[in-house]
């Protein structure tokens, strides 16, 4: 991904929108006893589109924003999200995404990892009360919900960042649509030259 200042601005706006919508909207919706979490989804998507460095930086920044918005433990979300963003980016750098189901599956797996990682971090920071086994169900359901949400959101984010994605720009130059438009441009040029000679 080529990150110009315009693309950087788009990414920043997407992250702010994700955090605001998460704390003000998605956290209010309950499906099968848990709430969907779009923050890891956005971070993993950006990691898949932009690579490991972008994934890690975006994960770190999103975690800071989320912890600040909720006045939570600063650094906890950053640590977990930057790992998810980095892993998504490493996958993208090492493997070709050949199937459209791979991004949602990867997002679901890493969202489950984020929820489990955050739970583990909380346990390490100290829990003085019993922990219900229901937490395992919630972590699993979060992954399932991420899979469902990734189906529309991954293409949407990809579309927003399309001008910066190297693969898409190169692909567009070779696509049948652009080849057809080049052919029609040449045909228009020939017609114009013929008319000029006749006139």
């Amino acid at each position: 991904m080529i990150v110009t200042w315009r693309i950087g601005l788009r990414i920043a706006l997407a992250l702010i929108a994700a955090v605001v919508l998460q704390v003000s909207f998605f956290s209010y919706l309950t499906f099968f006893g848990t709430t969907p979490d779009i923050v890891p989804l956005v971070v993993v998507t950006l990691g898949l589109l932009g690579g490991a460095v972008l994934g890690a930086v975006v994960g770190f920044a999103t975690g800071l924003l989320l912890d600040s918005a909720l006045l939570g433990t600063l650094g906890a979300s950053s640590l977990v999200l930057l790992t998810a963003g980095y892993l998504a980016g490493r996958y993208r750098e090492g493997t070709e995404i050949s199937n459209s189901l791979i991004p949602p599956l990867l997002i679901a797996a890493l969202t489950t990892g984020v929820a489990a990682g955050f739970a583990a971090l909380q346990l390490m920071l100290g829990i003085h009360t019993p922990v219900s086994l229901l937490i395992l169900r919630e972590i699993f359901v979060k992954g399932l919900l991420a899979f469902v949400l990734a189906i529309p959101l991954y293409p949407l984010i990809r579309r927003i960042l399309r001008p910066a994605i190297v693969h898409d720009v190169a692909g567009a130059a070779r696509s049948p649509i652009s080849a057809a438009s080049r052919r029609s441009r040449r045909a228009r040029g020939r017609r114009a030259r013929r008319l000029a000679r006749a006139g």
């Binding site: 605001v20 003000s24 909207f25 309950t30 770190f60 918005a69 955050f118 219900s132 919630e138």
Partner: protein
């Protein structure tokens, strides 16, 4: 070239992990007025209006989803509700009688109070943000220090105790819920039952555990649990006495244990809080920082 890229990638990862760990440890060691807390409050204040706007704009969608859920639930619950209504009618009659007696007793001792939050100034606040984690630990409300909200102010909903304020910015406040893993509320089982400490079972917002109840104390299922509001002069509970916490759902005693495990269903619906009341300007409670 490739090696350089790999080194750069690893350096960024290590740097970010180190910064995150430093932030974590500093956040724990720093005082509430430290630079990190101040920076965090500034960001929270800046995001507050955005959160409030988003919360208001998306409210119809949340309501629609709730309506669909409730419609499906209502069909199955109809029979249960009929039985519960009969039970509640009987309870209401008892409560009205008790309220009458209570009012007379208050007049007798010369107290000019209208409820358990007497002496406080209730500030109604809208919940504008929720933690997305599975811990059900905090919510953000749209009232802050500009509305008189202070640290450790009790927070209630129409049904009962919700939590207490644990951080305040100019226009918002963070409320740590009774289901937060650091929460512990001194509680009393009504009518004249024993006192214990109500703690959450992390990950299950529909259950609290009432600890330190002697194994020989009889505890009835359905008994109301309220805040004890104790004070020994030097230290005291952050909550006033008599705020409903929930109802006893189950009580079990292990063979080797000297205390009962009393399960309490919270009165407030922690997952679906829209509006809450922050009890501000309360009487000073020794040992509770403001």
């Amino acid at each position: 070239m490739y090696r350089k890229q790999v080194r750069r990638r690893r350096a960024v990862l290590v740097l970010l992990i180190v910064v995150a760990l430093v932030l974590l440890s500093t956040r724990f060691s720093e005082s509430d007025s430290g630079p990190l807390h101040s920076m965090q409050r500034a960001v929270a204040s800046a995001l507050g209006p955005l959160e409030e706007g988003a919360s208001r704009a998306t409210k119809p969608l949340v309501d629609l989803k709730d309506w669909i859920d409730e419609t499906f639930q209502a069909r199955g619950e109809n029979e249960d509700l009929r039985a519960e209504a009969d039970q509640l009618r009987a309870q209401l009659a008892k409560a009205q009688s008790a309220e009458g007696e209570n009012e007379q007793l208050r007049k007798l001792v010369g107290l000019d109070r209208s409820g358990v939050l007497a002496g406080y100034t209730p500030v109604t606040a809208r919940v504008i943000g929720r933690s997305p984690t599975v811990w059900y630990s905090t919510v953000t409300v749209d009232k802050g220090s500009s509305s008189g909200v202070q640290m450790n102010d009790p927070v209630v909903s129409g049904d009962g105790l919700v939590g207490r304020v644990t951080d305040v910015t100019h226009g918002t406040a963070k409320v740590s819920l009774i289901t937060d893993n650091r929460s512990a509320v001194s509680a009393r089982v009504l009518p004249d039952g024993p006192q214990g400490v109500a703690e959450p079972e992390v990950g299950n917002p529909d259950d609290l555990l009432l600890d330190f109840i002697d194994r020989n104390q009889p505890i009835d299922q359905g008994a109301l649990v309220v805040t004890a509001g104790w004070s020994n002069g030097a230290i005291s509970s952050a909550f006033p006495p008599g705020l409903p916490i929930g109802e006893v759902s189950d009580a079990t005693v292990g063979e080797q244990e000297s205390y009962q495990r009393v399960h309490v269903t919270p009165a407030a619906d922690i997952r679906n809080l829209d509006f809450v009341q922050v009890a501000t300007d309360g009487p000073p409670r020794p040992g509770v920082p403001r």
